[in-house]
Symmetry: C2
Subunit: 251 residues, 2 copies
């Protein structure tokens, strides 16, 4: 039961949802249209968000996400904190393989890419830092789903599974067997399930208490290397990141 | 004149201010104490922030900045956008000099460090990504202040100038002359004005329309290199970043 106050807060936060990687700068009327709220309401809420620095208004009259929100967002342990601790190991993986390296975490029934290092001349990938993706198709997604709470797995497998290629596994029973394999083998393989030219291999990253908090993957051109040859590399790298996470922070 | 709605929003955003790099995880009562708000109010506002994902509540009962806020914050053009575009040039500067490299933007009457690459064996520096600092002491600060609107310069120079070392320039008239020098020479020097063992040299980064939007600096051990030898390096690097910013984004 929302109180009137929380309705205001909820509405203000919904304005922030209008901003995406594809729409980083928006006018007042665009925000009103995207959120379905009256222009007068949006105008009043925007003033509050701008006053604090969550949004900034440019000379062109467009609103953009403000530096203050970036500052506070950089305090998120599962975003910037994880990224900074994992980065040296991801760079090692990138330099050794020259392939695409990805780090992702689960957010509800989707994954969010926390870091992505593009390999020089490597196969093109769809991911972008801060962007979301289905848990069912990618290597990192399968790792995160395999270690998600049972109720999250059920929610994902009950919903229609998005198909990206003819190779995408959409059958819930087959996905369940794949997830069990991921848990027993310690790695996940996505073979042309996102794009027909790519194969990804992913392994779980644990926190200091043993919970799976992230997944790291390599995305290579299909046919360039067998998945079983990449798996030990990913598992080694994921364990190194897990060890770094288990160490006490300097903060 | 705040409406009741905006008061709720303003209060909720003030809760976010309680989180800092030194205090990334807080309990309900700590947040109430830090913000001076009643526990019942804080509790209600936290529920709204957690529901959207601005904050997350851990198993330990502490609140932390949430992944969703990091996602939205990553859309800030002056934060993550600037950082990603400048990073290759900052890494070049770091690899060539092995010294500390910094990138900062102005936020009101302070600066915010957007990137910092520590040099191996270089002199220790106080900066941290996302942390704030006075505009009057560092090389990047002097560049940003020299190119700030006149009213911002007046506000900074009217206020008491913070002293960090015996070398810190705190006299407004002398600071004014330094700022004029920065504008005419195209670079700024901070000679032991922050710590007695460090010298920094900084140059302005321009956007596609010629406005100064950031400053890049090297921080070296005092006595290791003369400022005039570093200035051309900084100016060259700052121009390369400016060119990158002037190019259309791929988004």
């Amino acid at each position: 039961m929302p109180t009137p106050g929380n309705t205001v807060l909820t509405r203000a936060l919904r304005l922030l949802d209008a901003f995406t990687p594809d729409r980083p700068a928006l006018t007042l009327s665009e925000i009103a249209r995207l959120t379905g709220m009256p222009v007068s309401t949006v105008h009043r809420l925007l003033a509050g968000l701008v006053a604090w620095g969550a949004l900034e208004r440019g000379d062109d009259g467009r609103y953009r996400v403000g530096l203050r929100l970036w500052e506070v967002g950089a305090l998120a342990p599962r975003g910037q904190g994880l990224r900074e601790r994992a980065l040296p190991y991801l760079e090692d993986l990138s330099q050794i393989t020259r392939e695409n390296v990805q780090l992702a975490v689960r957010e509800g029934t989707e994954l969010v890419f926390v870091e992505r290092i593009a390999g020089t001349g490597a196969v093109p990938v769809l991911s972008r830092v801060g962007s979301r993706f289905a848990l069912t198709a990618t290597g990192v997604g399968l790792v995160l789903l395999a270690h998600a709470p049972p109720e999250v797995q059920e929610e994902v497998l009950r919903a229609p599974v998005e198909r990206f290629t003819p190779q995408t596994v959409v059958d819930p029973a087959r996905l369940r067997r794949m997830l069990a394999d991921v848990r027993s083998s310690g790695f996940a393989v996505s073979d042309r399930q996102v794009t027909m030219d790519a194969l990804s291999v992913a392994a779980p990253v644990h926190d200091g208490r043993g919970a799976v908090v992230a997944a790291v993957s390599l995305v290579v051109r299909h046919g360039s290397a067998p998945a079983h040859a990449l798996a030990p590399l990913l598992r080694t790298s994921a364990r190194a990141i897990s060890r770094a996470l288990a160490q006490p922070t300097r903060r």
